[in-house]
């Protein structure tokens, strides 16, 4: 599989994006701004198609417009960022505009599919380098603001009292999210950014109790999904984005199902001992996970 150039490029691109998506997605989930992230990706569709129309690279258009939208969203703050209806309407408008731009462009269908659902196998080496630089910039920026951002995300009022500039952090964070969104869109397309950015992070938060652990698991899951997704896509010839969204959903639902929660708990002693009172023929044969 790795004998092919396009597979090596795809693995490199997907690895970079997964490492970026993990930590940024963790904060996005923590701050309850996942829908805002989703909307930013759709705004990116307008940016990409608009860029194609006027003869620029779609990635440049994607990055510029998402970052601009992220900053605007941050400045509008709670008036917009947490309002589902306003975000939803902007999201629909962004897709509509993108469609209009593509309408004026000739090779409509292939471009649209690649932008909407991603085409990681079509990524060239130049794009990988661009992704690496953008990824390094967004992760470095997140590292700089991560401590006050974590404080402001968990205890906004106390953080404000301690002098943390909440609004500025919010703007910076959404700009970082916008960059990460533009990156993710290269792999899974604008419609499925949720699968790569939110899925692993949300799953990680269900499974961990610490910030460091949560970010680590989020990155590990994202890496696992993209590597497994690419491998499955290679052998089945089904789209990579399908496998990524399926793995992301599977991981999340395995983590939120009631029995998953139960697995993480210690078995109450009462239940463990009462089992011995069950008549022999009815006693379960599997071993009890008593810890």
């Amino acid at each position: 599989m790795l004998h092919y150039d396009f597979m090596r490029t795809a693995f490199a691109a997907a690895t970079i994006v997964a490492i970026v998506a993990g930590p940024i997605g963790y904060f996005l989930v923590l701050r309850g701004q996942t829908f805002a992230g989703h909307a930013l990706a759709h705004v990116g569709f307008t940016g990409a198609t608009g860029a194609i129309l006027i003869g620029f690279s779609p990635l440049a258009g994607l990055v510029c417009l998402t970052v601009a939208a992220g900053i605007a969203m941050g400045f509008l703050g709670e008036r917009l960022a947490q309002r589902d209806v306003a975000i939803g309407i902007i999201l629909a408008l962004a897709l509509g505009l993108g469609l209009l731009f593509l309408h004026f462009f000739t090779s409509f269908a292939t471009k649209a599919t690649a932008l909407l659902f991603g085409n990681v196998l079509g990524v060239d080496i130049t794009t990988v380098w661009t992704l690496l630089v953008l990824g390094a910039v967004s992760l470095a920026a997140l590292a700089i603001i991560s401590r006050p951002l974590l404080f402001a995300s968990l205890q906004p009022e106390l953080a404000a009292a301690k002098g943390v500039p909440g609004r500025l952090l919010s703007v910076m964070f959404l700009a970082i999210v916008a960059l990460a969104t533009a990156e993710c869109a290269q792999i899974v397309g604008v419609l499925l950014v949720f699968a790569l950015m939110v899925g692993p992070a949300a799953t990680a938060q269900r499974l961990t109790k610490s910030f460091a652990g949560g970010v680590t698991v989020a990155v590990a899951l994202a890496l696992g999904y993209v590597w497994l997704g690419l491998t499955l896509a290679f052998y089945t010839d089904w789209p990579t984005s399908f496998w990524l969204s399926a793995l992301s959903a599977a991981g999340y639902f395995l983590a939120v199902l009631p029995w998953a929660h139960w697995l993480g708990q210690r078995v109450p002693i009462g239940i463990a001992t009462s089992k011995s009172a069950v008549p022999e023929g009815l006693a379960p044969t599997d071993s009890q996970p008593v810890s």
Binding site: L30, G32, A143, I144, I145, S146, R147, P148, L150, F151, S153, L154, Q155, P156, E157, L158, A159, A160, A161, K162, G163, V164, Q205, R206, L207, T208, K209, S210, F211, G214
Partner: protein, 292 residues
Amino acid sequence: MDDEGARGRGQSSAPANAVNALEFTNVTVMLAGRAVLANVSFVVGEHEFVGVLGPNGSGKTTLLRATLGMLPVSHGSIRVLGAPAVRGNPSIGYMPQVRSNVDALRLSGWDFVAVVVNGHRFGLPYLSKDGRKEVDWALDMVGARELAERPLTETSGGERQRLLLAQALIGRPKLLLLDEPLISLDPSHQRAVVQLTKALQTELRISVLFSSHELNPLLGALDRVLYLGNGHAALGTVDEVITGPVLSRLYGSPIEVVRIGTRIFVMSGEHDVERENHRHEHEHHEHHHAPL
């Protein structure tokens, strides 16, 4: 600002002579064109436990936020521990009433308290050995060591209250501002929070401003009462302030004070004012948070 998270700043930095914890001099604070506090003056001394009482909208939260330097003062001056009120004052510990939706997080109690240590500084949320000790110390002070490993989703209302108090203690404050810590707690948990706060105030030799709808849970713990109403304030002992004439002036309507045993009821006509407030606020509270 030096490393307030790591070092015990106890006696060394405190001046030898007594400094008032909080001084309001002719303070007016306007919110949305209304003077929530109008020409308010009072002085809270060292090591005092002051209950901040008053009906809804009387400015309890406004008073605390102005002390924290989070609200502009249109007139007068506020001095905290001898210095003008500024945002980010490390000598003030604060337990806000508005809380984010932390109930749904699986983050551990330890991590929840740890975010406050040097939380205003840029960089990665990595804690030094001293920082980790500070978190352990704060958890020990509120008796929440057993909550350290537990996810927030599995804590009760009273337990979460103790974690919030631990957060307020980070930085070793000399003045503790608690905004309605008794809201939506049952009477036994209310008693526990008041007793814990009193113990902290005595042991750490700090001043406490404790806002509440109800006076009775605080009786026995507080030194003086700061009663707010109609933009005005009255500070004094319970016997001085919780009287018909003083409260009638603050409420702007006839108020009667009824004592039954050790308990005190503030009545307006047929209604128990505090109880009404509390029920009101409780319902209001439920809208935003899942029942505890």
